[in-house]
Symmetry: C2
DNA sequence: CTGAAAGCGCTAACAC
DNA sequence: GTGTTAGCGCTTTCAG
């Protein structure tokens, strides 16, 4: 019908006919059926987003960044939670693919050794961009924080503040844990410092960060600083330290990464490294939309967002 | 085809035929096209969720509750952010409707006086359930916290702790602000207390809660307690109080509501009222699914989730 | 510039 | 149990 053209704003419709159609559309309260449209046009204008945990404000912020930058372009966003479980993620991917999404953005919880789920995406020719968790073996576009730079920024800040025995709460391998750990080690090495391996403890969230810090506090030469790979672990660390009657920042300085929204409301306002989560989402959306629009497959692009230091009281000079 | 029946697990297929089909499905890596399926079946198995702000952990938690309880039933969830803007919300509703969602869950930012957007949902016969923000004029199902009970619980707790001059940071009208304010007033009245109207100040988040509290702190008889209608405002209040050199809980006690995830990581662990956000999401999903399944329209149900007190250090006895 | 013809990939209802 | 016949409401292609 001509109606279809009017609805889609095609140019080849007479002005008079168009307004006549438009009038009738208002009158009947007509709304196009996107399901039918999607089937015929072979495009759904939906994109899928899979994150490990929507409750984590870092991912919530990314999700928001994606939404706000992609909605104006006519896309809707289906957000899924993988619960940090690769099997769940894998099935989410299939569901989204079955729903014929035009593209996918994922912060993947797949083990780097077994990423066949990505093969299925590629097999269907659906463009996707990876965020936050990087898979170097994969030739997919990636947008994320520069983890190594984050590790260096945080550690150097601590060193500048006079700390010598800097402990690290390391995140999950390989992402984002190893990059930040690498930056941490590089900064220490550059400053000629060395710490016992026992100063490096793993954790993932505030609860495990709390536990990890309690172990740290039982060490003989007490650390004089702790760099948590993310803000929740750093917040957990602060809780353990204060509970032990140790003062922050006088005796131990603490820094995190992520600049989550509540960072400056914590017991001691938490210094952190901002990784511009919103921009990560926006950029990922941008790359994805371009890939969807492209007729020929675009080469994968990698974008590392530069982190910035946010110094607050938890690392204030004594 | 018979294939269709196998995919949908219809009973009327021979065991042998079924396994033959299944084998071929694996072999060809076949995946049903949900768009086509939706068009033919007139059901999308998608539900739409609109919240004012995904970054607010209360809504993130609700979203998660909805997702986790509805995914196993075969539904996918499209989450939208209205940015607390009724025009945005209204257009989101139309988009979702155009996508033929089977149902809608909304924490609506519509002004109670102008809810024609709901009419459009009803006109299409799409079931929906309201959460968090209640619209008494509407005969729609509702799931939310019992705001008045929250206000009473928090205020009574403060009274029990010996506070007499209890200030309140009031939330947006009418929801959830007025219910909590009402509970606050009722608790004061029951205890025979009265406070000047200047003790009641409006705010919406941590920043405005901070500002509001600064005004509170300039009052002549200083309040000896502050009840923030939600945790962010209470956290902002704590910031302002501590900045002014006033001790919590010795001089001023503080309580919030919502029990957001970071509440016990704050400068002084924040007492709060838990409103079981996850359960709100689950219950809403549950009601919605039942309404979708029902052949005849079900009567609207209203579910108020009972709040519970979480006492932490910010209201500890002196 | 307008509209007729064909079909997107599936499910519904019914016959075999 | 199996497979047939019709669409679901649109977009595409191409003839008027």
């Amino acid at each position: 019908m001509t109606v279809s053209k009017v609805v889609r704003n095609c140019a080849d419709v007479g002005a008079e006919t168009r307004s006549r159609v438009l009038a009738r559309i208002k009158e009947l309260n007509y709304q196009p059926n996107w399901v039918a449209r999607s089937l015929a046009a072979r495009r759904t204008f939906m994109i899928g987003v899979i994150v490990p945990d929507l409750m984590h404000s870092f991912f919530a912020e990314i999700a928001k960044g994606i939404s706000t930058s992609i909605r104006p372009l006519g896309y809707d966003v289906v957000i899924c939670n993988s619960e940090e479980d690769s099997a769940v993620e894998s099935s989410e991917i299939d569901r989204l693919l079955g729903r014929q999404v035009d593209g996918l953005i994922l912060a993947s919880a797949q083990p780097p050794s077994a990423t066949e789920a990505f093969d299925r995406i590629e097999a269907r020719g659906v463009p996707y961009v990876l965020i936050d968790r990087r898979f170097p073996d994969r030739a997919a576009s990636y947008v994320g924080a520069d983890d190594q730079a984050i590790g260096m920024l945080a550690t150097n800040h601590l060193i500048e503040r006079g700390c010598r025995r800097i402990a690290h709460i390391a995140g999950p391998e390989p992402n984002p844990g190893s990059g930040r750990l690498k930056g941490y080690r590089a900064a220490l090495a550059a400053a000629g410092l060395s710490v016992p391996e026992s100063y490096i403890v793993p954790a993932t969230d505030d609860a495990s960060g709390y536990e990890a810090t309690r172990r740290l506090l039982s060490l003989k030469p007490l650390p004089d600083a702790i760099f948590g790979y993310n803000d929740p672990t750093a917040a957990g660390a602060m809780k353990a330290i204060l509970e032990a009657g140790i003062r922050i920042p006088e005796e131990i300085k603490v820094i995190g990464a992520g600049n989550v929204h509540y960072s400056d409301l914590l017991r001691v306002p938490l210094s952190t490294v901002d990784q511009a989560s919103t921009r990560i989402g926006q950029q990922a959306a941008d790359i994805l939309v371009k890939a969807i629009g492209a007729k020929r497959k675009k080469p994968a692009s990698t974008l590392l967002i530069e982190p910035t230091l946010v110094a607050r009281e938890s690392t204030a000079a004594r």
